[in-house]
Amino acid sequence: MKKFDYTDKKDTRSGFGAGIYELGKTNPNVVALTADLAGSLKLDAFIKDFPDRFIQCGIAEANMIGVSAGLTIGGHIPFATTFANFATGRVYDQIRQSVAYSEKNVKICASHSGLTLGEDGATHQILEDLGMMKMLPNMTVINTCDYNQTKAATIAIAEHVGPVYLRFGRPVLPVFTPADQKFEIGKAWHMNEGDACSVFVTGNLVWEAVLAGEMLAAEGIEIDLINIHTIKPLDQEAILNSVKKTGCAVSVEEHNIWGGLGESIAHVLAQNLPRPQEFIGTKDTFGESGTPDQLLEKYGLKASYIVDAVKRAIARK
């Protein structure tokens, strides 16, 4: 298993804040909006240096999505920011009609996704957002794994014309991807070569998958580890090439197994290359209050559960 070193730990939302600040300097069309969560979304530097291009919408997310759609008519690139629950479930119809169906160049940027926002509990821990967003025609869906990847993705989506859902989070995670990376939408990142089992992982759990890979390597099991940061469009070629080699798969995500990355991969495999697949994700349940670490353990998302899933998948080959 390849070694992934890190010297720093940061939250992915700070990567977003750094990315949008960079965009503020380089792209005069970029406008940032928020619904009373400017601090949580790390917009402070952007607001300070580009106050005219910041729109505080107050606690009114539906209006924020509509205003964003309107801003594109005039050539602006709105980045609408709030927590993942309020950025998707609360405003699904506004995104559907005014953004996705209307083909508007709106970037919906969502922090505090999944269980790992922790103590706030299930009202805020959305585990269905990837499913809702990937079902919308025209929508690009991205879920990033560390500070650097989030920053790079934030910069990359400004260049992409069309609606995007960018999902990141609150937990502090190792910064293990390159600072100078070029983020390519729709192109999976092949993190480790192996032939025992394909592990497809997205978002906050990529680091857990790295730990799982190290634990498995100690037992002589080398996994083919692939980071699927773009849920849609899905890199089918990377998935099929890997599973052709390994013959089985595990999908890993901080999301309901219904509707998430695992289901998209299962679709690709069922149509092209039917092979055993195991699913790491929440099992059709809401979350609850707790520390991120406690929640990942209780809901079966930590490295040890990935190790077990890999062994189950291999046994089914």
């Binding site: 291009r53 759609a69 309107g70 008519i73 050539g75 119809d93 508007k104």
Partner: protein
């Protein structure tokens, strides 16, 4: 343009609406007829549009340096399509495709078919005021001094998002935004008072910080006067309560909410078209 000439165009547009809806036995004639005079006033007179050398409108999605109009209550698409066609955004013959398979004239307006003149999909109610506010904000960022208009239904005022946007626009000092409410007091299930009373809309919008005025939406002279004379405070958006009759222009339809979404039968069509003359220089599509 002369008031009488605009009224003649409105007669033709009303014929288009009834014929479009009747041809597919579906669509929303009531609100379309009630708002016909506003659409004719806007598109044939008030809006400062981008035109080519032949005087034909040029459609660009960005709409920079021209007035913009957004239709929030998308179900009155027949009047929108008729007026867009008759001002030259696309051929009037295309009106015959309304609500048919593979048409650009979808049941509710959409950008997906790239129909010139449409800048946002609408149909699911309550979203247009937010979109228009965003477009008005964009104009300010672009130092573009043109204006943004949006039409909503009065039943639509029951949607919560309308009030999010109503709070947003004055707080952001969007004086380049005019919202118009089709105040016909009717919606699908009955009167607005009976279904879920909006109460005093003028007082509500005033309390939210809007400049509120009223106009007679089936009086061409009053529409032109109100829209042109409105003294726009550069920092205060304007809300116009537009008094209309659902189904205006056809005696047996006027004022009856049952015509919100019902097509006319053959006998009713003959009667209705008899009340709407074709004036010289115009003809049915």
């Amino acid at each position: 343009m002369e008031i009488q000439q605009l009224e003649h165009i409105a007669s033709q547009v009303r014929r288009d609406i009834l014929r479009m809806v009747s041809a597919v036995n579906s669509g929303h004639p009531g609100g379309s007829l009630g708002c016909t005079d506003l659409f004719v006033a806007l598109y044939f007179d008030v809006l400062r549009k981008k035109l080519d050398a032949d005087g034909k409108p040029v459609f660009e999605m960005d709409g920079k340096d021209e007035d913009l109009f957004f239709l929030s209550n998308g179900h009155i698409s027949p009047v929108f399509y008729s007026v867009l066609a008759r001002t030259g955004y696309f051929s009037v013959s295309e009106l015959a495709t309304f609500r048919k398979l593979d048409s650009r004239l979808q049941g509710h307006p959409t950008t997906a078919e790239h129909l010139p003149g449409v800048r946002i999909a609408s149909g699911s109610l309550g979203q247009g005021l937010s979109v228009a506010a965003g477009a008005a904000f964009a104009k300010r960022l672009n130092k573009d001094d043109k204006h943004v208009y949006v039409l909503m239904g009065d039943g639509e005022q029951q949607e919560g998002q309308v009030w999010e946007a109503a709070q947003f626009a004055p707080n952001k000092k969007l004086g380049n935004l005019t919202a118009i409410i089709d105040y016909n007091l009717a919606q699908i299930d009955g009167t607005t008072m009976g279904v879920n009373d909006n109460r005093d809309l003028a007082a509500k919008y005033k309390a939210f910080g809007w400049n509120v005025t009223e106009m007679q939406g089936n009086d061409m002279g009053d529409i032109i006067k109100t829209l042109k004379d409105a003294k726009h405070d550069p920092e205060v958006p304007t809300l116009i309560l537009m008094h209309t009759l659902m189904g205006y222009g056809v005696d047996f339809m006027a004022g009856n909410y049952k015509w919100h979404g019902t097509a006319l039968n053959e006998e009713q069509m003959a009667n209705a078209l008899g009340q709407l003359p074709v004036y010289s220089g115009m003809e049915d599509y």
